[in-house]
């Protein structure tokens, strides 16, 4: 009896110890990564949150601003323009990129000669240097003698758009460049999802007499829903954060036609040195992305089915 109790005791202690040891091991594996995250992301984020309520030019004394920075948002018409432009960009980019990448994935999922080559070719813009991409796009859309406009003239368009040199066409030009750049990446995600759809579903549907469209509509699309959900969230977030492409292609111009929130934040912070105000703009962007992501997650149940 006694011995049995003893062994029982020791085993429970050692189980506790083992658990603690196990946890420690796990934490020590997480630690290096977490340290990097804390130093380079978490602390700056918290600092930025605090900054939104301060006046600071990066060198002189910091003073408390209260809600001044947020009040200024209402008066700053460049902020208003940048906010609208950001939505314009997101609404233009997200659906278009999803459609194009889904289309490409469906095409390249077919038994096609040289499909690996095409898959690589479409993925290539994603890994190419962004500055090179921007320069090439500006060349393609060069208003006077660029290939795109030459082609349009050949088709009989007498006055083709002036693309990035025009207030009306600058944003569509940037959106097209962005779609072209990111379609390959999302195509790969769709391809992976497509390959995960069991072929017996299609076989059963074919037996039931479903045509191609019906198979796509009632099998492929629902089965792709988790991937679509993931892609829509990732794309929305990256699109709200757009900065580099615009900085290199148009620098927000002509005028303020392609000025977006992150570019405005950058200009306020690093050209005008109003770190407090720029943090307030960044905070607004953060809230917008947060709200949209929450809404997306709420709506997830309605159309995403993890089977």
């Amino acid at each position: 009896m006694e011995t049995a109790e003893l062994t029982n005791n020791t085993s429970s202690i050692s189980a506790q110890q083992r658990k603690r040891k196990h946890n420690l091991t796990c934490y020590s594996f997480i630690l290096p990564n977490f340290l990097g995250f804390a130093i380079f992301t978490l602390i700056p984020m918290v600092f930025s949150l605090v900054l939104a309520f301060l006046h600071w030019d990066g060198a002189n004394k910091i003073s408390f601003a209260g809600l001044d920075n947020f009040k200024q948002l209402l008066e700053d018409d460049t902020f208003r323009i940048a906010l609208l432009n950001t939505f314009y960009y997101v609404i233009g980019t997200v659906p278009l990129t999803m459609l194009v990448s889904l289309g490409l994935a469906l095409l390249l999922n077919q038994p096609l000669v040289g499909r690996n080559f095409f898959r690589t070719a479409y993925f290539f813009p994603y890994v190419a240097s962004l500055v090179a991409v921007a320069v090439v796009w500006n060349m393609l859309f060069y208003p006077a003698a660029g290939p795109v406009n030459e082609f349009l003239r050949m088709l009989g368009v007498t006055e083709p758009p002036r693309w990035s040199a025009s207030v009306d066409w600058a944003m569509p030009t940037v959106i097209m460049a962005s779609v072209w750049r990111y379609m390959g990446y999302y195509m790969v995600i769709y391809l992976a999802a497509l390959q995960g759809i069991p072929s017996q579903l299609y076989e059963a549907a074919a037996l039931d007499g479903a045509n191609g469209w019906q198979r796509f509509r009632y099998i492929t699309l629902p089965m792709l829903a988790p991937a679509t959900f993931f892609i829509s969230i990732m794309l929305t977030i990256t699109s709200f954060k757009v900065f580099d492409l615009i900085m290199v292609m148009t620098n927000g111009g002509p005028g303020r036609a392609t000025n977006v929130l992150v570019l405005h934040t950058y200009n306020i912070a690093f050209r005008q040195f109003r770190f407090g105000y720029s943090s307030a703009i960044a905070m607004v962007l953060f809230l917008i992305v947060l709200i949209i992501t929450i809404v997306q997650f709420r709506m997830e149940d309605r159309w995403v089915d993890y089977q």
């Binding site: 200024q72 208003p143 025009s166 005028g255 690093f270 050209r271 005008q272 040195f273």
Partner: protein
């Protein structure tokens, strides 16, 4: 045995130290000798007989040689003391610059200074020109210790001094006894609330470059030194020819705001910080007119294609190019390497009607000391060289215009190989206006001006609309 050896070494070291520390032999007092000579000379004048005179003269000669020797010894001693004082403690100075590869003078000037000061190493911190100001701003906000900051333009300067990131130099300039008048007013332009934070080493003015071959082919005279903007417009229209790929444009306005707006502030009645921009209308009307008539390349295309003014001029596509004098050195190189195969000339910048010829706009490139620098003294010494007459001569020798323009410096500049004729006349200025005035709001104003300039030049808004927007937006921004 070992111990003895150690003792011996110790003694040797002590002896060396002792001899090294002893003061240099005291030089004989020269003033005493001088007094003796003077005394004897007085006696000589007073003496009457030849013999006494001869004797006295001999004495004087003897003393004179003693005096000379003493003076020599004193000089040698002083030199030795100076050498000891300058005990070459190695210093490394870092300097923020841009476009090192295409701008040879950074290295040339650094080398010239290092040759004089072997203990100093100059490290150049290179950045692409377009990102230079942003990068330095970010660096300094992060507490960077780069010693010497090159100031590219006035907005950068006013930003740095407002944030206290550069050191005031006024008292140092006074202590060093630097005569700031040699900078012909540039130092006054850099003075803010009684303090100067940078000294200019380079000062560029806007001039007119032209392609002589184009004018020869058209049978026209080269642009005169004294032309108004209207005459410039007329001339550009006359010299425009061809079409398609062979088209030669009469003139060229680069995409910078300043290319158009400088002509509007030449009369000195307005600066680019204003509460009413209607004074810019005539110039914009002229440039837009030229653009619509195909006399100059289209702004939107220049921007979309990131087309550099240098390329189109070197390719012989344009007849006249109003541009800063910084291009001179580049064109000399291009001509020497054969990249550019035509004759070129320079003339004075065109001016508005009723403004004196030789009135132009200019930019200053200056040096300042970072407040975080650990080598402020060495940096100041370097800046004195760089911005002083010696630096100016070295800089002029590379085909760049120094801030100090004495006749001597300009001679060096004009005699650079490949310098076009008439350089000295073209660089004659009556008034030089600063491209941007010193003002704490200058960077905010400049951004708005840039945006509206883009809208006007791309034809997105009319000239009147654009100018109206400039006025309202800038008034709003400045009232905040």
């Amino acid at each position: 045995m070992k111990r003895n050896l150690r003792l011996f070494t110790l003694i040797v070291v002590l002896v060396i130290l002792a001899t090294g520390c002893t003061a240099p032999p005291a030089a004989p007092d020269t003033s005493e000798l001088e007094a003796q000579v003077a005394d004897l000379q007085a006696q000589l004048e007073a003496a009457s007989d030849d013999e006494a005179m001869a004797e006295l003269e001999a004495q004087i000669a003897d003393l004179q040689t003693q005096l000379d020797a003493a003076e020599e010894a004193a000089a040698a001693a002083a030199e030795a003391a100076a050498a000891e004082e300058a005990a070459p403690e190695p210093v490394t100075l870092t300097m923020a610059i841009w476009d090192q590869e295409t701008t040879p003078y950074w290295q040339v000037l650094a080398d010239a200074y290092q040759a004089q000061n072997p203990n100093v190493t100059i490290e150049l911190l290179d950045t692409a020109s377009a990102e230079y100001i942003d990068k330095v701003n970010v660096m300094l906000s992060g507490g960077d210790e780069t010693d010497i900051i090159t100031i590219k333009d006035i907005p950068q300067y006013s930003g740095l001094l407002e944030r206290g990131q550069i050191v005031p130099l006024t008292s140092l300039i006074a202590d060093a006894g630097i005569d700031t008048s040699v900078y012909s007013g540039a130092v006054e332009e850099l003075t803010y609330e009684g303090e100067v934070y940078a000294l200019p080493f380079r000062s560029d003015i806007w001039i007119l470059y032209y392609n002589k071959d184009v004018f020869d082919a058209a049978g026209l005279d080269y642009p005169a030194n004294d032309i108004t903007w209207d005459e410039f417009d007329q001339l550009a229209r006359e010299v425009t020819s061809g079409s398609g790929a062979d088209k030669i444009y009469g003139a060229h306005f680069h995409t910078w705001r300043s290319c158009v707006q400088l002509g509007t502030v030449q009369d000195g009645l307005n600066t680019v910080i204003s509460d009413d921009y209607s004074f810019m209308k005539p110039m914009y009307d002229m440039v837009i007119g030229m653009q619509q008539d195909g006399i100059i390349m289209d702004y939107g295309e220049l921007r979309a294609g990131s087309i550099h003014y240098r390329g189109v001029f070197e390719n012989g596509q344009i007849a006249m190019l109003p541009m800063g004098s910084w291009l001179i050195g580049t064109l000399i190189d291009a001509k020497a390497t054969g990249e550019m195969d035509f004759e070129w000339g320079i003339g004075q910048y065109p001016h508005p009607d009723g403004v004196e010829a030789g009135t132009t706009a200019g930019t200053l490139t200056s040096l300042a000391i970072n407040s975080n620098s650990k080598n402020k003294e060495a940096a100041w010494d370097f800046i004195q060289f760089y911005t002083g007459i010696e630096g100016a001569k070295v800089l002029a020798g590379t085909g760049n215009l120094p801030a100090i323009r004495t006749p001597e410096v300009l001679d060096v500049f004009a005699s650079v190989e490949g310098m076009p004729e008439g350089t000295k006349e073209a660089l004659q200025t009556t008034t030089v206006r600063l491209e941007l005035p010193m003002d704490p709001n200058v960077s905010v104003v400049e951004q708005i001006l840039n945006e509206e300039h883009e809208l006007i030049m791309t034809g997105s808004v009319s000239v009147d609309q654009g100018i109206e927007e400039m006025t309202t937006r800038i008034n709003e921004a400045l009232s905040e």
